[in-house]
């Protein structure tokens, strides 16, 4: 009797090992898109819609996507405009993508500029979201000029944790002051590079040409 039970349990054990050993979320990709709405950069928000559309078309069932805005203080769930972990079934995932597209369209058409720019707060919030998804690949996209401006009360001068996360700065436009002295622009990007790497990020990349968005999700 025991022998028979053992023989029956063998294939079941094999199946359990095959399904259990493989991490179901290990292949998933989670993306957190930070959209800067401060100052003059708010004019660029139309391009953010293109990026969201590209992401919706590229992400697969089981992947996660969140779109959040960068304001004077961005470390808050309230700044997340739309988020979804797409269903494993392709048809349901497509329906979720349609809803998300509508939400982002509503946001881009009604977005208002903020006084300050808290990119660090957005990064911390994004890392929190990505880690919660448990996805194998995690990416934060920052749609901003990367010029952080904080009010006096806001504290962001501490080390942050971006372990195993790719950070991609998209459409980093040059400011008027950058045109006067390009070293400011290059220095700003270099500072972010150092800070992100110090936070344990897997990769830092800058993509200014939004015609080549295919590099967004490729590590």
């Amino acid at each position: 009797m025991r022998r028979r039970a053992f023989i029956v349990s063998l294939p079941l054990l094999g199946l359990a090992a095959a399904t259990g050993c493989a991490d179901p979320r290990g292949h998933a990709h989670a993306v957190y898109l930070l959209v800067d709405t401060s100052g003059t950069y708010a004019e660029e928000i139309g391009k953010a819609q293109l990026i969201v559309n590209y992401l919706l078309g590229s992400l697969q069932p089981g992947d996660s996507l969140a779109v959040a805005r960068v304001r004077s203080r961005s470390f808050s769930e309230k700044d997340i405009i739309a988020k979804a972990t797409f269903d494993n079934r392709p048809s349901q995932a497509n329906a979720q993508k349609r809803v998300m597209k509508t939400q982002v369209e509503a946001f881009t058409s009604s977005a208002r500029g903020s006084v300050n720019t808290d990119i660090t707060g957005g990064l911390i919030q994004g890392a929190e979201f990505l880690n919660e998804t448990g996805a194998g690949k995690k990416t934060i996209l920052i749609f901003s000029d990367m010029q952080e401006e904080l009010d006096k009360a806001t504290v962001r001068s501490f080390p942050i944790d971006l372990k195993d996360i790719r950070v991609v700065a998209v459409n980093v436009v040059k400011l008027k002051t950058d045109n006067i002295d390009p070293r400011r622009y290059l220095g700003r990007l270099e500072d972010w590079h150092k800070r992100v790497k110090a936070a344990g990020a897997r990769e830092w990349r800058v993509i200014n040409d939004i015609e080549h968005l295919d590099a967004l999700l490729k590590s």
Binding site: A22, G26, L50, G57, P61, G62, R89, S91, A93
Partner: protein
């Protein structure tokens, strides 16, 4: 100076240094000549011996494998030919049962028709009754010459009139008799035709039987050759197996293409059922595995169907099942295959819908809207996919036939290839052993060339000693040589 190797006596002149070292070493090399020769020979034997041994062992193995292959091949051929003969006998039995079972009725019919024809023939042979006796009397009266007597004249005239009337009557009777015979002969025709047809049918059946008998003769001849284990039979079976192997491989490759198309059809919709984001291994999605499993299950059901239909003979257990159980199993396999084909057709439809949904989403996300294509033309791919999804499982079911041929012939082809490989390896090892042994001899010669000067001195000394001694007799000289 400091960079020169330790053995260089004159820095910058390595060749001279080497020559000096060689001259110094030469007496030692001469002294060590016999041990070095022995060492080289021993090394040659040491390396060459095992290689030769291995080559012999491989050749013996190849012979054994060939014997075993031959036995298997002949056994397979014998079994196959036996089955064919049995099938031919079954056909003959069916032929005899179908055609010759009605032979008594056919024979009776033939006899009836022949009797009827004989009867008719006999009736045709009946002639009209001969003329009455008075004809001779009339002939005698007719010989009477008219002599002018009026009475006689009138009597003759009366007789003449009577005879004419009788003649007319007889003639008409004669004609009537012939008419009736002609009618009988007319009635002959259908019987003759029927007789001819019946005989032709009987001949045809006999010809079929003769053809089957000829086929049995041919198979029996082949069987006898196999039973006698002739080389001709072995060669014929080997060639047949090789041909079968290549044909089966080709058909299996085509079937694999069909299975791939099938896989493509159902992999995407399976993600709707088991999820697209689940992975079994690093790169293997659960939905893909599920699609593969469905295809394998279909192939297995097809295999069982072919087995229960007794088209293939891969599972002896199925063949030993009772007739009723076999039929039940056949129906179960068929129903499952039908159900799987239906599922595949539905999945193919779902695939089309998913692609259309994805396409619609991408178009809504794109900056430019694509032109929608509506109409019956857009339905053709959907219908085609559904039809393909339904047909492919049944087409895959027939893979069992080439698979059986492949498995059966692979034993022969693989065995033959293994024998060839073993022989080639044996030859290579033997050659290597030969080269190593002779290389030792070559090295001995090279060694002697290196120490040629001491050897020359040795020869001179020996010759000098020999000159001091009395000359050897011719017999001794011959012995030395």
């Amino acid at each position: 100076m400091a960079d020169s190797p330790f053995w260089v006596i004159w820095p910058g002149n390595a060749a001279l240094s080497a020559l000096v070292w060689f001259v110094i070493a030469m007496p030692f090399l001469y002294a060590a000549r016999a041990p070095v020769h022995g060492l080289l020979l021993a090394i040659g034997q040491l390396a060459g011996g095992p290689l030769r041994l291995a080559a012999r062992w491989l050749l013996a193995s190849a012979r054994e494998m060939r014997t075993r292959n031959r036995a298997v091949l002949l056994a397979q051929g014998s079994e196959e030919t036996g089955e064919r003969i049995a099938r031919e006998f079954e056909r003959v039995a069916a032929l005899v049962k179908r055609d010759l079972e009605a032979y008594p009725a056919l024979q009776r019919r033939l006899l009836d028709e022949i009797t009827r024809v004989e009867e008719d023939y006999r009736q045709c042979g009946e002639v009209p009754p001969p003329p009455p006796e008075w004809v001779e009397a009339v002939a005698a009266v007719a010989k009477i010459k008219p002599n002018g007597n009026e009475l006689v004249q009138r009597l003759l005239e009366e007789i003449n009139v009577s005879i004419k009337a009788i003649h007319e009557k007889n003639l008409s009777e004669y004609r009537r008799a012939y008419q009736s015979r002609h009618k009988i002969l007319d009635g002959f025709m259908p019987f003759w035709r029927s007789l001819e047809k019946t005989l032709a049918r009987a001949e045809g059946k006999m010809t079929n039987l003769a053809e089957r008998a000829a086929a049995i003769d041919a198979q029996m001849e082949k069987f006898e050759k196999i039973a006698k284990k002739t080389d001709e039979a072995e060669h014929a079976l080997a060639v047949s197996a090789l041909t079968q192997f290549f044909i089966a491989t080709l058909v299996l490759a085509v079937a694999a293409g069909g299975a791939l198309v099938n896989f493509k059809l159902i992999a995407l919709p399976m993600s709707e059922m088991v999820g697209a984001g689940d992975y079994l291994t690093a790169s293997l999605r659960t939905s893909e595995v599920a699609a593969l499993v469905i295809i394998f299950v279909e192939a297995t059901m097809g295999l069982f169907l072919m087995e229960t239909l007794r088209i293939t003979h891969l599972f002896p257990r199925i063949h030993s099942l009772g007739e009723q159980m076999r039929k039940r199993m056949m129906w179960i396999a068929f129903v499952l295959l039908l159900a799987l084909a239906g599922i595949e057709a539905a999945l193919a439809l779902m695939r089309d819908m998913l692609i259309a949904d994805k396409q619609a989403l991408l178009q809504s996300l794109a900056a430019t809207q694509a032109v929608a294509t509506e109409g019956w033309l857009s339905g053709i791919p959907t219908a085609g996919q559904m039809l393909l999804g339904f047909i492919l499982p049944f087409a895959l079911a027939f893979v069992a036939i080439p698979l059986e041929s492949f498995i059966n012939s692979a034993r022969t082809v693989g065995g033959g290839a293994a024998v060839m490989l073993t022989r080639a390896l044996a030859v290579a090892l033997r050659f290597a052993g030969y080269v190593i042994r002779h290389l030792a001899r070559v090295l001995i010669t090279v060694y002697d060339i290196l120490i040629v000067l001491p050897l020359l001195v040795e020869r001179l000394v020996k010759n000098g000693r020999a000159a001091g001694k009395p000359r050897a007799t011719g017999f001794e000289a011959g012995e030395r040589s």
